[in-house]
């Protein structure tokens, strides 16, 4: 398995290179001048041109790419034009929020999505099933920012139960209780994704339930819960595991909107703000980190597949 993982990582390198080239070209095609943004409203064209030269932004694109790639291979993603800080440390600052948000969201997805999906499948065709699968589809149809706005209005402004926005680091005053800042954002982000998982768990459990080996299990005289858990759910998990992987990757992307609504200092909002400021190195860095994350997730999903389903062999 380890050998397979290493091999896969090597296969990823060309994809990663292609992706980074793509990012680089895209981003430098964006109109707008970081030097002008940085110097502000009163800067003269001469000052802007000088800063552009100092930042190396006047060199041909391919030279910039080669330079950047060379640094990237040494683990250096460059320096943020706006913050004048290494991109890696800017991203690392945002990563705490984003990772905690993603983990917390996955927590809700598992807590709500899996049991509701299981109940929906085992009560197939009843009003419980119709309510939960219909409700799941409805939840997936709500724009996240709209949901977020109303959650803030209800739970923060009106009821005053939860903080509305922002997220002080866990290392800040308050420690672990600062997690409550992430409750509303993670629930907002979880809603459409939990809906996906509910429907997926339900569908794959129904598929598995029809399989012959479940009948064999029942013929053993096992308790129905044992059949549902050890035979139906366990097998349905194979399909669900893949979805978890994709959901996790999707979360990172969808967090852009959620982090904006809840003003969380995460990577998603960083990328939006950096696009507005034309902070090229940060945009590149964040997107590459996310692409790498996505690829690692894919790899982990494949490994999980092999672990969950002995029929899959890793080649």
């Amino acid at each position: 398995m380890l050998a397979y993982a290493i091999k896969r990582i090597f296969v990823l390198i060309p994809t990663l290179l292609a992706a980074s080239l793509l990012v680089f070209v895209f981003i430098h095609l964006i109109p707008g001048d970081p030097a002008a943004v940085l110097l502000g409203d009163t800067a003269t064209p001469e000052e802007v041109a000088q800063l552009t030269r100092e930042m190396g932004l006047d060199k041909p694109l391919y030279t910039q790419f080669v330079l950047w790639l060379g640094n990237f291979l040494q683990g250096d993603l460059g320096t943020s034009i706006f913050f004048q800080e290494p991109v890696l440390s800017v991203i690392a600052d945002g990563a705490e929020t984003s990772i905690l948000l993603a983990v917390m969201t996955m927590f809700w997805i598992v807590i709500f999505g899996v049991p509701i999906g299981v109940v929906s499948a085992t009560r197939h065709g009843t009003w419980i099933d119709q309510l939960s699968s219909g409700g799941a589809m409805f939840a997936a149809s709500i724009p996240t920012f709209w949901l977020g706005l109303y959650l803030i209005l209800i739970f923060s402004v009106t009821l005053g139960w939860l903080p509305s926005s922002g997220f002080p680091s866990l290392s800040d005053e308050g420690g672990l209780t600062n997690l409550r800042y992430l409750l509303l954002p993670s629930l907002t982000l979880a809603a459409p994704n939990a809906a996906l998982i509910i429907r997926l768990v339900r569908a794959s459990m129904l598929d598995v339930q029809r399989e012959d080996h479940v009948r064999t299990a029942r013929a053993k005289g096992l308790h129905p819960l044992r059949v549902a858990y050890a035979h139906v759910f366990r097998n349905a998990l194979i399909a669900v595991a893949a979805a978890f992987g994709f959901t996790f990757a999707a979360l990172v992307s969808e967090a852009v909107v959620t982090e904006t609504v809840f003003s969380l200092p995460g990577v998603g909002r960083l990328v939006v703000q950096s696009i507005l400021r034309r902070d090229y190195p940060v945009i590149q860095g964040v997107i590459l980190v996310i692409v790498i994350l996505y690829m690692i997730t894919n790899l982990l999903v494949d490994l999980a597949y092999a672990w969950l389903d002995p029929r899959v062999s890793l080649k």
Binding site: P31, G32, D33, P34, A36, V37, L38, G40, D41, T42, A43, T44, P45, V48, S80, F82, F83, Q84, E85, S89, V90, D93, G94, F107, V110, I111, P115, V118, L149, I152, S156, V157, G160, W161, L162, P163, S164, S165, G166, S169, E173, G174, G175, T177, N178, L179, R180, L183, Y229, T260, V261, F262, S263, P265, R269, L270, Q273, L276, R277, R278
Partner: protein, 513 residues
């Protein structure tokens, strides 16, 4: 089964988080900002946000009192000699920097020199300076080529202005903004930390040497009551409002006008008007395109606009805007109605006629506006409609701010663009007075008036000349003012010591909760 266990732990977790009280120490002020400043180095950065944060740390020789008059801050007093061509400034003694060193003339000299050479607004003064030297441990002597009226305003205006840094910092820094670890000033708060994307934190400077006089505007005694001030970027305005209401922030800036009535009536929110209005400006391209040197066509455009509906739509409550043609607000010494009858004529038919006479034949006029500032866009939409009614072929181009400021530097890309200007104490600081500012207004008339304007220190004379400049602006129309906007901020009612309005940038010395 396991599900019930999951539920229990989830519920327990929720309860624990809900019950956890706000763990914030009362000694921290949390300020929701519109974004992040590019740097806090006052010499080179003119962002208002940067100054809002930085003027707690950095101080200048002078500052403004509540009447917007410059008064001493680090300066103890000054003498004008040689018909105003020599200025001798004596410094306060016993003022220490955050690093513990005492502030002496050498520090002031180094700071002024860097500002004069590289600072955003330093060139204005320094182009008139022949020499500047430390004439004592606590004395600075500035020699001017000619008497220069705005010197004290320029020294007092901290935004892009001469903040006093230790000589070691100022001398080592060149053109580049100084790094956060070198943020060393004399103010009541000192630099704590800057976490990118998260917050800028200031902490109280316990050895602050305050002036012993009653607080008056930015002048007078400054006492730091909070242990920390945290400036948290909250770019989404809705989030700033709900965050303040929910108690997550103590102060939030830049709130939309339409919410004013509700927030003002809300006992849980205190509204604070900004004393100095900002105003929208539509610049015209003097370098290229159909508007170049065609002053008649420009006046036709100016005549077509009715500013009132645009202000209504973009701002809302009448308390928050004035359809005021003077570049500086009523009550200010620079107030003048010269040329202002052309400010908002809204004369569609007249404009049509004027345009025809000016030889306009329906050439497209490119109007750039950004959505990053809602009121820019809202006003531009109204103006585009008005201009279309008057027969102008307006091509409204909507960009984000970064694209707009890149494009406006290229004369072939635009004919009109929308921006806004903050309140300034001296008209010389208004961007249109800068020949290099996009729009590139640099006619002979302007040059002549500008030379006279800076060439005298006589306030009455300067005010008279400013009226003439304003008339020229309405004649040659390098830019069109769209009206005064009084922005406002909101605060938690727990804060005491906040005035009902701010001068320009909010300050939190003398504020407590």
């Amino acid at each position: 089964m396991k599900i019930s266990l999951w539920w229990k732990s989830a519920m327990a977790g929720c309860a624990a988080l809900l019950l956890a009280n706000s763990a914030w120490a009362d000694g921290t002020l949390r300020y929701a900002t519109v974004g992040e400043p590019p740097s806090l180095d006052q010499h080179v950065v003119t962002s208002d946000l940067a100054t809002t944060i930085a003027h707690h740390m950095f101080e200048g020789l002078y500052t403004f009192n509540s009447a917007n008059a410059p008064v001493g801050l680090l300066a103890a007093g000054e003498k004008l000699e040689d018909d105003g061509k020599t200025i001798v400034i004596s410094l306060r003694k016993g003022v220490t920097f955050h690093n513990g060193q005492e502030m002496v003339a050498e520090d002031v000299l180094a700071s002024l020199n860097r500002w004069g050479e590289h600072g955003s607004r330093g060139g204005l003064l320094y182009s008139n300076v022949t020499s500047i030297e430390a004439s004592g441990d606590h004395e600075i002597t500035i020699k001017l080529k000619a008497p220069f009226g705005p010197w004290k305003n320029l020294l007092a205006f901290i935004n892009g202005g001469p903040a006093i840094y230790p000589a070691s910092v100022a001398a080592a820094a060149g053109k580049e903004p100084i790094a956060p670890e070198d943020y060393i000033g004399t103010g009541p708060y000192k630099f704590g930390e800057w976490k990118a994307n998260r917050h800028v934190e200031l902490v109280r400077h316990d050895d602050y040497a305050s002036i012993e006089a009653a607080p008056d505007g930015y002048a007078g005694a400054r006492t730091a009551h909070f242990d920390k001030i945290r400036f948290i970027p909250v770019p989404d305005v809705g989030t700033r409002v709900s965050g303040l209401k929910a108690g997550d922030y103590d102060y939030a800036e830049s709130i939309p006008g339409d919410l004013f009535a509700d927030l003002d009536a809300d006992p849980n929110v205190k509204t604070i008007l900004n004393g100095g209005p900002i105003f929208g400006l539509i610049f015209m391209n003097s370098k290229e395109g159909p508007l170049k040197e065609n002053f008649a066509l420009r006046r036709a455009i100016q005549a077509a606009l009715d500013k009132v509906p645009a202000l209504q739509v973009s701002i809302g409550p009448e308390k928050l805007w004035r359809a005021n043609g003077s570049f500086l607000p009523e009550g200010n010494v620079w107030y003048s109605d010269a040329g202002a009858d052309n400010f908002s004529r809204g004369d569609t038919d007249g404009a049509k006629e004027m345009a025809a006479k000016a030889g306009y034949q329906g050439e497209p006029i490119k109007f750039m506006v950004s959505t990053n500032y809602a009121f820019h866009y809202d006003q531009a939409v109204v103006f585009t409609k008005q201009l279309a009614q008057a027969g102008f072929n307006i091509d409204l181009q909507v960009y984000d701010w970064a694209t707009l400021i890149k494009k406006r530097a290229q004369p072939d890309q635009w004919d009109l663009f929308f921006t806004h200007h903050g309140f300034v104490p001296d008209p010389i600081l208004i961007s249109v007075m800068n020949d290099n500012y996009p729009g590139w207004w640099a006619t002979a008339e302007k040059a002549g008036l500008k030379a006279k304007f800076t060439g005298t220190a006589d306030e009455a004379e300067r005010q008279k000349i400013w009226s003439q400049i304003q008339t020229a602006i309405y004649e040659q129309v390098p830019t069109m003012k769209t009206g005064d906007v009084y922005t406002y901020n909101i605060a938690s009612p727990k804060l005491s010591g906040l005035a009902s309005s701010t001068l320009i940038w909010p300050h939190f010395w003398n504020v407590d909760n």
